[in-house]
């Protein structure tokens, strides 16, 4: 076991763990946000740089700091490593720069976008970004392409995280879409116009951190915050059949996989990932098709969860002041960080 300290919180993790995974073991506000990394997809991560952290001490043997911020999703921990995320103002400054770059070409069409309300980029820019852009030029625009009757591709919104490409590689046989062209002209496409109709292709929608890939059967039906998420299951011979239904009254508007607090698709009891098939996702839109388990826990990405954006500022102060120390079992209790207005 290796001992690492992230934002002054020590944690012991097995060898080969990345900084991001170690931070997730601690949990709370110190977890770096991730746009391209998805723990259930192999070789994902390392593209977007939103998860950058400052490594103050490389290891116990070699205590020199790393010269520049590192991507925590791709950097494995060393024994005695000291990492700073939200307790380092220059790291937050660097992340704000990354957000600004991600938003350069991202259209401001959240009022139109179906992902609004559960969009990781929305959360990221709200929590880490600056209120204004300094970019004067026109945003990049693509000709709309049709990739089938179930998935809507909105290339203007894409941040090229490669998650959907990895889903197609690792979940389906015979990937027929990918990133074509390079640099500014890079885009997700099937190259020769072709429908993506593999049984598990719908999972691309769930892993997309922005509104680039959305469900056509849910398109403009409602807004996420008006729907009522419930967990449900059915016997499916293709997939695990464990899904989240997004209802409005008696009507099932949308079916998605269950996602955890980090916005990633959850695991089943046997350890496999709960990807769902297209039949469950698109064709089972009656409540009678499903066995309802109960209301879904609203995750941190949701506008429905109250006081979501306040937690970064207001957690620890009072409890530590009143109790003199960190209470047991409270994971997100930190020392006063740079975001704390009382901390000078």
């Amino acid at each position: 076991m290796l001992k690492v300290t992230i934002d002054d919180i020590p944690v012991e993790v097995p060898e080969g763990t990345t900084i991001l995974q170690a931070a997730r073991m601690i949990g709370g506000d110190i977890v770096p946000p991730a746009m391209c990394y998805h723990s259930k997809l192999k070789t994902s991560g390392g593209y977007c740089r939103t998860c950058i952290v400052k490594v103050e001490q490389g290891s116990a043997k070699d205590p020199r700091p790393m010269p520049k911020p590192v991507a925590s999703c791709r950097t494995t921990v060393m024994d005695g490593m000291v990492v700073r995320n939200i307790t380092s103002p220059e790291n937050l400054e660097a992340r704000a720069g990354v957000v600004e770059f991600l938003l350069l070409n991202h259209p401001l069409d959240c009022p139109v976008c179906d992902q609004a309300g559960e969009c990781h980029l929305q959360d990221l820019s709200y929590e880490n970004g600056k209120a204004e852009t300094r970019y004067d030029f026109d945003k990049r625009e693509y000709e709309p392409t049709d990739i089938g009757d179930k998935i809507k591709l909105h290339m203007n919104r894409c941040i090229l995280c490669y998650r959907c490409v990895k889903v197609a590689d690792q979940l389906t046989d015979g990937r027929c879409h990918g990133v074509i062209n390079r640099g500014e002209a890079a885009e997700i496409s099937t190259y020769i116009e072709k429908a993506i109709d593999n049984d598990f292709s719908g999972n691309m929608i769930d892993v997309c951190p922005v509104g680039a890939l959305t469900d056509k059967t849910f398109r403009f039906k409602s807004r996420v915050w008006y729907t009522n998420p419930v967990d449900a299951h059915r016997n499916c011979d293709k997939c695990c059949g464990k899904v989240r239904l997004w209802n409005q009254g008696e009507e099932v508007l949308r079916v998605t996989a269950r996602k955890d607090e980090f916005g990633e698709v959850m695991d089943n009891e046997d350890g496999s990932t709960a990807w769902i098939c297209n039949e469950c996702r698109y064709d089972k839109k009656n409540l009678s098709d499903w066995t309802i388990e109960g209301p879904a826990k609203i995750n941190r990405h949701s506008v429905i969860s109250a006081n979501h954006y306040d937690t970064l500022k207001n957690i620890q102060k009072t409890t530590i002041k009143m109790m003199g120390s960190k209470p047991h079992g409270v994971k997100s209790e930190l020392g006063a960080g740079p975001l704390d207005p009382n901390n000078q």
């Binding site: 259209p107 401001l108 009022p111 139109v112 609004a116 004067d136 403009f220 039906k221 915050w225």
Partner: protein
Amino acid sequence: MLTNRSKQVVKREMTWLERAYFPAILSGMAITFKHIFMRKATVKYPEQTREFAPVYRGQHVLKRDEAGAERCTACGLCAVSCPAEAITMTAAERQKGEESLYREEKYASKYEINMLRCIFCGLCEEACPKEAIFLTDRIVPSTFERDSFIYGKDKLVEPKDQPVDVSKRQTPAVLAFKNDKKHKHNRTFLDKVLPKAKHH
């Protein structure tokens, strides 16, 4: 006794002047007579109407842009901000050829405000990211049927030939932002079509 506010009631005999009756009548008449020359508290509505405050919040309007396309994109922020839950809407996708009718890819196919629920707080106007909904100085007329208080798009969207003036409800900062064509959402259908047409 607890509040020390109890008072002893005294039934006092009236004086001779008070019993004389006429002085009291005269002073009452004087007060009444004085009011004939004072400013009246009422106006003769509907011939005469009161002056409204510049920020009066009355019946809503759904604005069109300069090219006559509906600004509302059915984002639902007005409905989620509404404390009285008076607003409901259904979104639809804009079809090819409807670009001059609706500004965005998505529009409100149905938009209803229940005027019986509405408290005219103006939060919908504040929440609107598209400068689409405004409260105006028009009064919602009273009727006898409850159904007629549910205002649909036919009553809310401003007629193309009679634009509703909302300039009093827009601060200079809001207007400057609205006219800045650098923002894509401020470009109208004409702005998108005309530069291309000039090349040909």
